[in-house]
Amino acid sequence: MALLEVKNLKVYFPIMGGVIRHKVGEVKAVDDVSFTIEAGETVGLVGESGSGKTTVGRAVLRLLEPTAGEIRFDGCDITNASHHELRPLRKQMQMVFQDPFGSLNPRMTIASIVGEALKIHFVQMDRNARRDRIAELLRRVGLKPEHMNRYPHEFSGGQRQRIGIARALAVEPKFIVCDEPVSALDVSVQAAIINLMQDLQEQYRLTYLFIAHDLAVVEHISDRVLVMTQGKIVEAASAEDIYSRPQHAYTQKLIAAVPKAF
């Protein structure tokens, strides 16, 4: 059984306007998208800026209300689950964010950022156990445990992304949506983060939905690739097929844009 099944997902954002600020139109951010992700695999999701990738990622985790469609996670339908019903599932699915600066609360220490998840989902854990767990997580993502009382603004972009990964890992999830985790980083740092994510995937048997706006990043890590443009998935194939036999004109364009050095 697939870990995640998405059927005919639509997410429309209303455009307000007119005299009494009623709905005068809608942005079809995600328009009839279907795909599945098997446990343990990495699915890449590529598309240009504004094509609706983040929206798909967030809708799948039910951080946005889908307009229509069906989302099944681990066999259960979460399309209309309430905040309360979703709570146990939040432990199994997590997200790593695009912007390493905005995704960490500037007024919280690293320990409380990573520890938040533990406080919510491991209620029985006491203070010391939590500290040890945070230290272990930080070590695991390549940070020093003694930095846990620091604030995010003291870290570099790559380090912050590692903190974000530690936060996602804290609940021991099965599935992580990685929303362009490296696109805001230097190329050299990008490789390090991607390697880390691959290591973690092997160690914890994670399933990834890996979002990126260029094929080069995705190709390296994904088993299958979905190509998205203007809210629709135009091509879905294995990573090799996408490269060797691109079907859709848009995919061909994306490939042409990849620098030859890769």
């Binding site: 306007g17 007119g18 005299v19 009494i20 600020r21």
Partner: protein, 469 residues
Amino acid sequence: MTAYIIRRLLSVIPITLGVLLLVFLIYRVIGGDPAARLAGKNATPAKIEQIRKTFGYDKPKFFGFWVQKFFRAQPGAGLGVVPVSGQTVWEFCLNLCSFRLAVVSASGQTGWNFKPAQGATRLAVALPDFDARQRYRMEFRVEAPQGCSLRVLLAHPGAKPENQPIILEKSLSNNARTFVTADIAPTVDLDAADGGTAQVTVEITGGEATVSALQVWRAQSNPFDSQFWQIVSQFAQLNFGKSLQSNQRISRMMADGVVPSLCITTPIFVIEFVVAVALALLCAYYRNTWLDRTFVVISIVGMSVSGLVYIMLGQYFFSFELGWFPVWGFEGINYVLLPVVIGVVASIGGSLRFYRTIMLDEMYQDYVRTAFAKGASQRQVLFKHVLKNALIPILTNVVVAIPFLYTGSLMLESFFGIPGLGRMTVDAIYTGDEPVLFAMVFIGSVVFVIANLITDLCYTWADPRIRLQ
């Protein structure tokens, strides 16, 4: 764009209604019984009742089927009457939340306690101007020990004592506190004798009891015949009522007061604006030099002195000690000069600092840097770019100040005896002339709402970016 303008125009309606509601809440609800406030400290219940009737304060506040009815508690056989002063917080909240917003007891307080001494079990309530064709309702709370029973009787003028209809009979069970409602239905056979004073008697047998929060209401047929809607319809016809002090029409008084007020506030407004903007430009031109800093210090120092002190010292030195200006009155140009100077001095600090902040904000915008990089001179940049772009925030500030033209300067006018709106307001506060205050606050707000509307419409015309919002 058109949609925006229409929306902006329409938004005036809910805001104006809201303002009216707010002022209404302040004067009719927050402060407790307005009739008691108007009547003063040692007023008799009858006086309060009369005020309540004259101003319609006995009607429901927003909506309701009952009008507050006046009653007088008569200490009957051995009954001691203990008035409870003030409202408790809880009762106040109840008054706010419940539908029966009209509930305020006749004494201007929420309750009276009737504590029967030994053996005494009767409480008589007098209802003046009783109309037997109307429905009445009486409500009160009883605290009594177990086994007591309660009877409510109506005695009508003209009727014999043995002919008293029993309105309510009730045995009080174990509750410590019971809320009793007695409906006094029309008694047709008695209608020959209306206009007199009826008497309702509460009889408790079987123990000592306390009756509190006793209120009497009369039914009214139109539930919207209420204080708020009365004001809405009156104000819609531009009828603001009459002053309690002079018995003049308030609209008349306002029309008379506008001119003296404008004579003071317009020059202050114009001079202050010109001087403050000129100084702010100077500060922007010489930014971060000693000149700029001196002005900043002066303006903060100026802002830190109470306006009242400027007026007192100014009047004392220039009018009294030196005798350059008249102290009091409004008879010629020289009566206006000193107030204007004081007004400008007192408010220029804040304005200067405000305009300077705006200009410096503009100064550090990218386009200004670009202009400098292209070799434009300080002066060119200042006048061509900064002033032009700072115009919008400056305009806002100016428009926001316009209502103060109307409300006048409260203190200046009352110190120098200028018969404007400001002094009218101050006098109304001193004498407790609530209709005048109500109207002043409301009209002041409406002027603001309109001024604000005009600015926003000017923006749309001046700055295309705003249309997209």
